[in-house]
């Protein structure tokens, strides 16, 4: 038995080692993950409080008030005062300051952090600001997290549900058989996208309904709009997976490539934590990831009750990504594994 075990063990090892592409990915992906994580969490002490500062010029003047010299507070420049006030009401910002015309500060009277910050502001000795109290329940972490979890689930379903299947079809010759019929690549790819879209949206809807039933998840906006975001997001992620595996013949390489796509989205798209206030380059990088736009739009609809006009830029980006990836996927697509 040991001899047979070792024979199979040895053969599999040889197979793996000789598949250079898979070996490369297996080594490269962990290294890249470590580098990205290190970059994101480079600062060893994260601030205790987050304070918004309204400044339409986008520049933060740290000399404008003595309060700004207080340590362990992260000051975030905001240009949309109304949106920032809503964030204070939802406890997403601990305080908001406007030193321009109004010279006002907004603090949530229900927030312990807001209470402490107000004491610190008043004791800082700078220009006197008038208080504008805000009230509102905090956004529970689950309310904020649920779109992230659903989005991540959707992403993996789109990537692996389509990517692996197409690679297996190619490897076994089923795609070659289909190629011998009048079927066009775009028809095949569209069918794959539609099928996976149906499966993904159905499963996400069931999870959403179940979670809402048992946890009472916040839903302030339109269900139709949320559906549009989920559908466009799923299409763009399926199409992205189809581009990546358009010529791949090995399931191991497909797994490596799809993980390589998925992990940056897990880390940078705001699944677990907000990227607000993190490195600007990383924030810019996150904007090229479809999951970022899905989560931004979904949270705006679910938590802030935003409408079409607010999420239109996210929808347009998702539409453009989906169309571009589908076109590229159809051009790059290979039916056979031996060409």
């Amino acid at each position: 038995m040991t001899r047979r075990f070792l024979a199979v063990f040895h053969a599999r090892n040889i197979e793996f080692v000789r598949d250079r592409s898979s070996v490369s990915w297996n080594l490269l992906v962990p290294v890249l993950l470590v580098l990205v994580m290190a970059w994101i969490f480079w600062e060893d002490s994260r601030p205790l409080f987050k304070v918004g500062v309204v400044d339409r010029s986008g520049e933060f003047d740290s000399d404008a008030h003595t309060f700004f010299t207080t340590r362990h507070i992260q000051f975030v420049v905001v240009d949309d005062e109304a949106l920032a006030i809503r964030k204070v009401a939802r406890h997403q910002l601990d305080m908001l300051l406007n030193l321009e015309r109004e010279r006002t500060y907004w603090v949530n009277t229900d927030s312990p952090k807001g209470y402490i910050l107000e004491k610190m502001l008043l004791g800082s000795g700078g220009t006197t600001l008038s208080k504008a109290p805000v009230s509102g329940d905090p956004v529970r972490y689950i309310d904020w997290l649920l779109p992230g979890i659903l989005g991540m689930n959707m992403m993996f379903s789109c990537f692996f549900g389509v990517g692996f299947v197409v690679v297996r079809y190619r490897k076994t010759g089923f795609l070659k058989r289909l190629n011998a019929t009048p079927l066009r690549a775009i028809e095949f790819l569209s069918a794959q996208i539609a099928s996976r879209l149906l499966i993904t949206i159905s499963s996400v809807s069931i999870v959403f309904a179940g979670t809402s039933l048992f946890l009472g998840v916040r839903m302030e906006g339109s269900y139709l709009l949320l559906f549009a975001v989920a559908a466009l997001g799923a299409i763009s992620m399926i199409a992205l997976a189809l581009v990546v595996i358009s010529r791949v013949n090995s399931e191991e390489l497909a797994s490596g490539l799809l993980n390589f796509l998925g992990w940056p989205m897990m880390l940078l798209s705001g699944v677990w934590f907000s990227m607000e206030g993190s490195n600007e380059l990383l924030q810019a990088a996150s904007q090229v990831l479809p999951l970022t736009h899905v989560l931004e739009a979904a949270r705006a609809i679910m938590i802030d009750g935003m409408g079409w006009a607010h999420v239109a830029p996210n929808l347009m980006v998702l539409f453009a990504m989906g169309a571009a990836c589908m076109t590229a996927g159809a051009i790059l697509f290979r039916w056979r594994s031996d060409t």
Partner: protein, 304 residues
């Protein structure tokens, strides 16, 4: 190399291959192959492994692109209509998991504009009892019948069969030949690649033997045999044949079990065997076959 109809009138070939070449990195798989195929005939491509048969057929099918050369369908370059009018049974084809036979047939039925009646194809290929069976649970013969049914779903004008009976038991193979006979009766053109000479002899009107990417013989099976052989084989068990070479002026091939004697005058050879005291209890007399021709043309050595 156009083929003439029985009346000696020239007809437009359904498929014409001219100067076909296919090169991969450092390897020439197909090297200047030309032939034409008359509508309604069964055309066989024979050759040892690596001869270039499958590559040639897949270029004809439009699955792979040639490095150079042309393939015409009904006298013109192939267009999108070609895919609608051909049926293909590959050497090995995976089907979609978890689908049964009927669902698989309906999947492919949906890919063509013009199709045959499903019930008719099911009946031709004897799949009635298997319609609800999972693809993965079919035997080799049943699977080949399903693959043939898929290839026939669009009522093809040309049917490509790439080693369709490889790996089948003798009963399944013969059963498959009967199916092909039935398709032939409908005047469909069949392009068949096979390793089995008996199959080629039984089914093909015209054969091409390829080796190392080139055509080395072409014609009808009977023409080729007549062209290359005018001899008959006498076969005797090796233990019954104990004659010194100088007493027996014929070409003798000896393997562990049998002696094969190639002769033009059978009567004279038998008289000589009797004179030499050879027992004729197990004597077998057979004409030369395509197997003999194939081995003579391509050699008996194992290819590396």
């Amino acid at each position: 190399m156009g083929i003439q109809a029985d009346s000696n009138m020239s007809v437009t070939p359904v498929l014409e291959v001219r100067g076909l070449c296919k090169r991969y990195a450092g390897i020439t798989a197909v090297d200047g192959v030309s032939f034409s195929i008359v509508e309604g005939s069964c055309f066989g491509l024979l050759g040892p492994n690596g001869a270039g048969k499958t590559t040639t057929v897949e270029i004809m099918e439009g699955i792979i692109e040639p490095t150079s050369g042309e393939v015409d369908y009904l006298g013109a370059p192939r267009d999108r209509l070609f895919r609608e009018q051909i049926g293909i049974q590959f050497q090995s084809t995976a089907l979609q998991d978890y689908l049964n036979v009927e669902e698989t047939l309906r999947l492919f039925l949906g890919l063509y504009e013009h199709t045959s009646e499903l019930s008719e194809i099911v009946q031709i290929c004897a799949l009635q009892e298997l319609m609800a069976r999972d693809n993965r649970k079919l035997s080799g013969g049943q699977r080949q019948r399903l693959l043939l049914a898929i290839a026939l779903l669009n009522d093809p004008r040309v049917l490509f069969l790439d080693e369709p009976t490889t790996g089948l038991d003798p009963q399944s193979r013969r059963n498959f030949w009967h199916l092909v006979d039935r398709v032939k009766r409908e005047r469909k053109t069949i392009v068949l690649t096979t390793h089995y000479m008996e199959e080629a002899y039984r089914l093909c009107d015209e054969i091409v033997i390829m080796d190392r990417g080139k055509i080395i013989a072409q014609g009808s099976p009977t023409e080729l045999l007549a062209e290359h052989f005018d001899e008959t084989i006498l076969q005797i068990p090796a233990e019954d044949f104990n004659v010194p070479a100088e007493r027996f002026p014929y070409t003798v091939l000896n393997d562990d079990r049998n002696v094969e004697i190639s002769v033009k005058d059978v009567d004279a050879a038998i008289r000589r065997l009797i004179d030499c005291g050879v027992s004729l209890r197990h004597l077998e007399i057979r004409p030369r076959t395509l197997d003999d021709l194939f081995l003579e043309l391509t050699g008996k050595e194992l290819r590396t």
